[in-house]
């Protein structure tokens, strides 16, 4: 049985902080054969990809909308029967589109992003920079079945969002 070290970054994330360095330091300090159980408020996809490259497999569990528990285990493959996060689904390709929307006032960034998403194939990723957290965009992304992750940069001035086009009503939209 792999020993899992607990790391809870939920409060840091809620306060708008960037726990990336802390997470990386924790991983660097692991004993051989030791893993990490990370508590976060979303599924940290880029982090997962990076750690997979370093030989950690993962199992993610979504306990609530903003409460995720991700076990990182060195070496072996993750539990393939876990329905919450099939490993292949968790790996996002590099963005096909990069949009800088920082000079636009609401609701224009929302218009641009949704228009672009309509032209994208399922699974493609869009990266956008905004000057605000696009609060009304999120419910529209949710309604359309897209997945996204986003946060502010270190200065809190630019909001970064990555959206993977996975339209829930893809069949309807093509009609």
């Amino acid at each position: 049985m792999v020993q899992l070290r607990e790391l809870d970054v939920r409060q840091i994330l809620r306060n708008g902080g960037m726990p990336f360095q802390l997470i990386m330091d924790t991983f660097s300090s692991l004993e051989p054969g030791e893993g990490v159980r990370l508590h976060a408020i979303f599924q940290p996809v880029p982090l997962i990809r990076q750690l997979e490259q370093r030989g950690f497999s993962h199992v993610a569990r979504r306990l609530a909308d903003d409460d995720w528990e991700i076990d990182f285990v060195p070496g072996d493959a993750p539990n393939p029967t876990d329905p919450a996060a099939p490993a292949s689904e968790a790996i996002w390709p590099d963005p096909t589109w990069n949009l800088d929307l920082t000079d636009l006032a609401p609701p224009e960034p929302m218009e641009r992003i949704l228009s672009r998403l309509e032209t994208m194939a399922s699974g493609e990723v869009l990266f956008a920079l905004l000057n605000r957290e696009p609060v009304f965009l999120f419910s529209e992304l949710k309604a359309r079945g897209h997945e996204w992750i986003g946060d502010f940069d270190g200065d809190g001035k630019v909001y970064r969002i990555m959206i993977r086009a996975t339209p829930g009503d893809a069949a309807d939209a093509s009609n």
Binding site: L13, R14, D66, D103, P107, N131, V135, F136, L141, A143
Partner: protein, 456 residues
């Protein structure tokens, strides 16, 4: 941080509708001569106008706005949305009873007592329940945006103002006849008014504008919220001390003056931040909501700058009334109307066209409201407000009435523009073809299960 997004508040439009109704009602009373500079503000029929404006217009406007923007400020969803509509019904019924109670007092009717008692109970309970819902949300999300703290100060003041008001209502109507309470009530009116206007509505307006203005100006977030929250809390504490030392009038006056100085300091810091936000904006041309708010900020500066010396020098009732008129109509109402010209089209646009975005051409947000016409009405409103305040200082009943009529007409015209925007009357009919669904006028339909939801 992973925000889950904000849904449209279902009842915000109903709060706005009720608020605008009470604004127009109060202005119609003013135009009809319900109050004029030669009448004491404490007369029951003047109190009908005062409470129609404060509870009806400003109170419901702020609560309606906060139901939508408290989730935006905190990134959390409101817990129990059925409180929204119960609060709205309670506020409308309670305010109706209160206005009717003042009317009965004016007529000398014996029924005034029970009506005022019922009004106090209904209003107090509705205000308290809505404030608790909003306050708990803002408290949980207090770290998400510094403006939450400012709105929390406002909501705290709202609760105290409502408690004072309930005590007044039962005392005025003769339910309570304990002499010490009656004496307390007769001296506490200025504190009731200050907590309501400076504490509740002003801090709520500052809090909401803290998030919205930089958003629409494309400028960086304003930074001084902690300073404003600190000076604001000290000011409110001083005001509270003044309110509860009525048996020592000299001390009460001193504390009241200190509270107004502290309030002045808060306002200077706020206006300075606004100046920096406007100057540092990346959006060069101002939209109507941001340009139309400028006279409101100017009138805030003028009324606060006049208020402190007026209190210190013990100015007459007319001067104080004129300053309060500028504060209520110029600052709070002017800002409210200017921002509604953006908020109503914005929420309507999101509801009607959000699901269609990217899937077919949709109208621009700016197409929903006729800015040029609205700018004329808003300008006329500000001119009328300044004219009315001048007429109060000059004690000219006739001048005041003429200004009030102009003010009422410009408000009615703005209401009409808002109604056109809400009903999407200004947009190209072609953009409204199937599967578009016209939003309901007074509330936001739940988008889940809405025809627009799948826009296929």
């Amino acid at each position: 941080m992973m925000p889950m997004g904000t849904n449209l508040s279902r009842w915000t439009m109903s709060y706005f509708g009720a608020a605008l109704f009470f604004l127009l009602l109060a202005e119609c009373f003013l135009s009809a001569g319900g109050w004029s500079p030669s009448v004491d503000v404490a007369e029951p029929r003047a109190l009908i106008i005062v409470h129609s404006l404060t509870i009806g217009w400003l109170g419901m406007l702020m609560i309606g706005a906060l139901l939508q923007f408290a989730p935006v400020l905190t990134g959390l969803n409101l817990p129990a949305s059925h409180f929204d509509v119960l609060g709205l019904i309670g506020l409308v019924v309670g305010l109706g009873l209160l206005l009717f109670g003042f009317y009965l007092i004016d007529k000398g009717s014996n029924a005034a007592g029970p009506v005022m008692g019922a009004a106090a109970l209904v209003l107090f309970l509705s205000i308290l329940s809505v404030s608790m819902v909003l306050a708990s949300l803002l408290w949980r999300g207090r770290n998400a945006h510094p403006a939450s703290g400012l709105v929390l100060i406002g909501i705290g003041c709202l609760a105290i103002t409502a408690a004072f008001g309930a005590l007044f209502a039962v005392t005025l109507s003769g339910i309570i006849e304990i002499p010490s309470v009656v004496q307390f009530v007769s001296s506490a009116v200025p504190y009731h008014a200050s907590l309501g206007l400076a504490g509740w509505t002003t801090f709520a307006a500052i809090g909401v504008s803290y998030k919205l203005l930089p958003m629409f100006l494309l400028s960086h977030d304003m930074k001084k919220a902690p300073f404003l929250a600190r000076t604001g809390s000290i000011g409110i504490a001083l005001l509270g001390t003044a309110a509860f030392s009525p048996f020592w009038p000299e001390a009460a006056n001193l504390f009241f003056l200190a509270a107004s100085l502290m309030f002045g300091l808060t306002i200077v810091a706020y206006l300075n931040e606004l100046y920096l936000a406007y100057r540092g904006r990346r959006r060069k041309s101002l939209e109507l909501n941001t340009s139309g708010s400028l006279p409101a900020f100017a009138l805030l500066a003028i009324s606060v700058a006049l208020l402190v010396p007026a209190i210190a020098l013990g100015a007459g009732t007319h001067v104080i009334s004129a300053i309060v008129y500028l504060f209520v109509f110029g600052w709070l109402s002017g800002l409210g109307l200017a921002q509604l010209l953006k908020i109503v089209p914005f929420l309507t646009w999101i509801e009607a066209f959000g699901p269609l975005l990217g899937r077919r051409p949709t109208p621009r947000l700016g197409d929903l409201v006729n800015s040029r016409r609205s700018a004329v009405w808003l300008g006329a409103f500000y001119v009328a407000v300044v004219a009315a305040a001048s007429a109060i200082v000059l004690e000219s009943d006739l001048g005041f009435r003429a200004a009030a009529i102009l003010q009422t007409m410009s408000t009615a015209a703005l209401l009409w523009e808002l109604a056109l925007a809400r009903s999407l009357a200004n947009v190209d009919p072609d953009t409204k073809r199937d599967p578009f669904q016209q939003p309901a006028f007074f509330f936001a339909a739940n988008k889940k299960g809405h025809a627009n939801g799948s826009a296929s």
